[in-house]
Amino acid sequence: MPHQPTPSAPWLRGLTEPRCSRRGLLRAALGAAALAPLAACSVPGARKPVPHTSAQIAAAVDGFWTGREKRGRLSFANYTQYIDTDPGDQSRHPTMDAFTRETGIRISYDEVIDDSASWFGKIQPEFASGQGIGYDLMVVGGDSYLSKYIELGYLAPLDHSRLPHFAERGGAAFKNTSFDPGNVYTVPWQSGMTGIGYDPAKVGRKITSWQDLLDPKLHGKVGMWNDAVQMGNIALLAVGVDPETSTHADWRKAAAWLRGQRDAGLVRSYSTSTYQSSLQRGDLYASLVYSGDVFQANQSGSHLEFVIPDEGGLLWTDNLCIPSTAAHPVDALTYMDYVYRPEVAARISETVQFVCPVPDAQPVIARDAAAATGKRRHLLGSLSTSPLVFPTKADQSKLRHLRVLDETEEKQWNALFEPIYQS
C-alpha cells in the first residue's frame, strides 16, 4: 500500500511549511560528506574457471561427487504449478510421496520461482557470499541465465553413472541442448512450445501463421509478452529465420517486425502476467502462449486453440540442476533419475500438461485413462493423444530452439527488443 497520511493538524502543517532551513541542509550535506568513503565501494565480479574438455569435466565430476553420501533429505525449488498434484487435494504431490516411501528421502518442496531473471537476481548474492542457497535442486529455464550459472560455476557437474533412467528413457529431442551440450549440468524437467493461442469463435477463422498477428481485424486484441528472450525468438521465426543461426542483421529485422505490429495498434498489452486470464475473458482474441496454457484454460471451460505457426514455433526446455553449494546433492541426483521413470513422468504430465521429455510416458497415460472414469477419463484420454504433450513428428519438424546469447550479444539483444514492450 502506498504511504498513508496522518492528517492531524500539526503534521499537515509540517508538510505545508517549508521546514528545511539553510543550516539544516548544510548539516545534511556535511553528514553526507562524512559518508564519502562509501563512494569507494564496488561490487565484486563473480566469474569462476569452468571445465571445458571432457577430461576436465570428468575430473570435475569426480572432484564434486567423491565422498558425498545420501542424507535422507532434499529441498527442491520450482516454478508455480509445475508438478503433479492430487486431484482432490492441491497440496499433495503423489510422485514425491511415492519417492519418499521408496527411498526414505524427505522432500521439502517450494514453488518460489517466478521467472529466470528474478530468480537469478535473488539467489546470486547467496552464491556470491559463499553460503548455500538452501536448495539442492532447482528448475532453470534454458536461456542465457543458465549460461550465467554455468559460467559462474554455480552448478554441480552431474554424475551420469547415477542417472540410468535418463540415459535410457529421455527423449532424444530433449537431450544435448545447445545450452548445455552433453547434459553436463542439467537434465530436462519439462519442455514446452511457444505458439499462438486464440479463440476461434472471436477470430472467426483458423490462424496458421505468425503473419496472422498482423491482421487488422485483430486490432487491439493481440497479446504479446514483456519478455525479450521469447519475443525476440518468435519474431525471428516470423521473419523466416531460424533463431539458432540468426545474425545481428536478422535481429534488427525481427525487431522491426514487432515494432510494425505495435505501431499498427494490434497489440493490446505486453504482459507475461495477464495474457492467460485476458484470453479467457475475451479481452484478447489471440496471444503468444505456452502450449500448457491453452490446455489448462480449456480444462476450466474455455474453447481456445493452440497452433504452431507454419514458419515454426519455439521448443524450450526447463531443466533440473543441482547448485554447487547443495547440502544434499546425492539425494537430488537420486530424485533427478526418479522422474525419468515413465510412470512418474506420466503422473507429472497428467497435471502440468506441458511437453513431456519422456516419450515412453505416453502409453502409461493411455493406460491411466482406460482405468479412470468420467471427466478424468476424458481428460487423460485427450492428454495421451495430445500433440501439446507429445508433439507429432510433423510438429517436431516445425519446432526451433532458442538462440544462445553470450554476454555481449545479450546486451545487444536486449537493446533491440526491450524498447518494443517498454515503450
Binding site: 502543517r13 509540517g14 562509501l38 486484441k221 493490446r268
Partner: protein, 302 residues
C-alpha cells in the same frame, strides 16, 4: 478536531530549568535516528555511488565516476520519465477534482456522521493494494459487468475497451490515491472558522463568492498536502501500469524494476531511481515555493 496549535511558536519558557532535559531529547531521538541514518540516508548515498560505477554483472562493477550513465538513461528513457510525471500529474488533478467536493461535503454537510464517512473513505486501505488493483481487471473486462451490458445495448462500439489504455492506468492511480487527497483537504476545511463564513455571508457574499474567496483559499494548504501525497507516489508507481496498462503505458518504475531484476544493470537502475527521486523532490519544492504556503497559513492561523 484538535486545537490548532502553532508548533512553530516558542513553547512557554520554563520557570526552572532542570539539568535533565538538556540531554533527554538527544537520547530519545538517537536510536530511531541511527536506524534511519543506516537504512535511509546511507542507502541513498550508496545508490548514487553505485550509479557511477561501470562494469557488468559477471565481472563486477568498479567505481569509475562515470557520469555519462545519467545522460544515457535520461536519453534512453526520457519518454517514460515524462510519461510518469504526466500520469502522476493527471492522477493528482483527477484526485483533486474528484476529492475536493467529497471533502467539502464531509466537512460541511455530513453533520454528526463525519467520522462514519471518513471511515468509509479509509476502508479501501484494509484491502491489499495489489488485490484492489487487480479487481479492476475483473470489473472493467471488455465484456465484463460494466462494459458488457453497455455494448449489448449498443451504447458502446463492440471493440471499445478501457483496460490496457492510459486511461485505465490513470484511473487506477486516481482510485488508489484518492483518500490521500480527501483527508488533508478535509482537515483543512474542518479548520475553517464558521465565523469567517458567517462574516462573508453578512457582507452579502453569494454562496459561490463565499466559496471562491473565503473557503477555497483557506483550504489550499490541505490541497497542497494532498497534491504532495498523491503526486509523488502516483508518479513512481509501477503496479497500476503493470496490471492495468497496455502497449505504451510503461512508467519509469517498470523500467527501474527491469533494470535491477532482469538486466542486472545496477548502475543504470540506480541512476534512474536517483533521477526519479530528484525530479519528484524538485517538483515538490518548486510547487511549495510557487504556492507560497506561508501566507495561506498566516491567514488560516488568524
Amino acid at each position: 478536531m484538535e486545537r490548532a496549535v502553532r508548533t512553530d511558536l516558542p513553547v512557554l519558557t520554563r520557570r526552572r530549568r532542570r539539568p535533565g532535559p538538556v540531554l533527554a531529547p538527544y537520547l530519545l531521538v538517537l536510536p530511531g535516528w541511527l536506524w534511519l541514518a543506516a537504512f535511509f540516508v546511507t542507502p541513498v548515498i550508496v545508490m548514487v555511488s553505485l550509479s557511477l560505477q561501470t562494469g557488468d554483472f559477471i565481472d563486477g562493477f568498479r567505481q569509475t565516476f562515470h557520469f555519462r550513465t545519467y545522460a544515457d538513461v535520461v536519453e534512453t528513457y526520457h519518454v517514460q520519465l515524462v510519461r510518469s510525471l504526466v500520469y502522476g500529474a493527471a492522477a493528482t488533478t483527477a484526485c483533486a477534482l474528484v476529492g475536493y467536493p467529497v471533502a467539502y461535503w464531509i466537512a460541511f454537510r455530513a453533520g454528526r456522521h463525519k467520522s462514519v464517512f471518513l471511515f468509509l473513505l479509509l476502508l479501501p486501505f484494509f484491502v491489499s493494494f495489489v488485490i484492489r488493483t487487480q479487481s479492476w481487471n475483473v470489473v472493467l473486462a471488455d465484456n465484463g459487468v460494466v462494459l458488457g451490458p453497455l455494448k449489448h445495448l449498443g451504447v458502446l462500439p463492440a471493440d471499445f475497451h478501457v483496460l490496457a489504455t492510459p486511461y485505465a492506468v490513470i484511473g487506477g492511480l486516481t482510485y488508489n490515491f484518492l483518500p490521500f487527497m480527501v483527508l488533508p483537504v478535509y482537515v483543512a476545511l474542518e479548520r475553517v472558522d464558521a465565523k469567517v463564513i458567517e462574516a462573508a455571508t453578512d457582507l452579502y457574499a453569494s454562496r459561490a463568492g463565499t466559496f471562491w474567496r473565503v473557503v477555497l483559499p483557506l483550504s489550499l494548504p490541505g490541497v497542497f498536502a494532498g497534491v504532495l501525497l498523491t503526486f509523488v507516489p502516483a508518479s513512481a508507481d509501477y503496479v497500476n501500469a503493470g496490471i492495468l496498462g497496455g502497449p505504451s503505458t510503461t512508467m519509469v518504475g517498470n523500467i527501474i524494476q527491469t533494470e535491477y531484476f532482469t538486466n542486472l544493470n545496477y548502475p543504470a537502475a540506480a541512476a534512474l531511481s536517483f533521477v526519479l527521486m530528484g525530479a519528484l523532490l524538485l517538483a515538490v519544492f518548486t510547487y511549495a515555493r510557487a504556492l507560497g504556503t506561508d501566507d495561506v497559513l498566516e491567514a488560516a492561523a488568524r
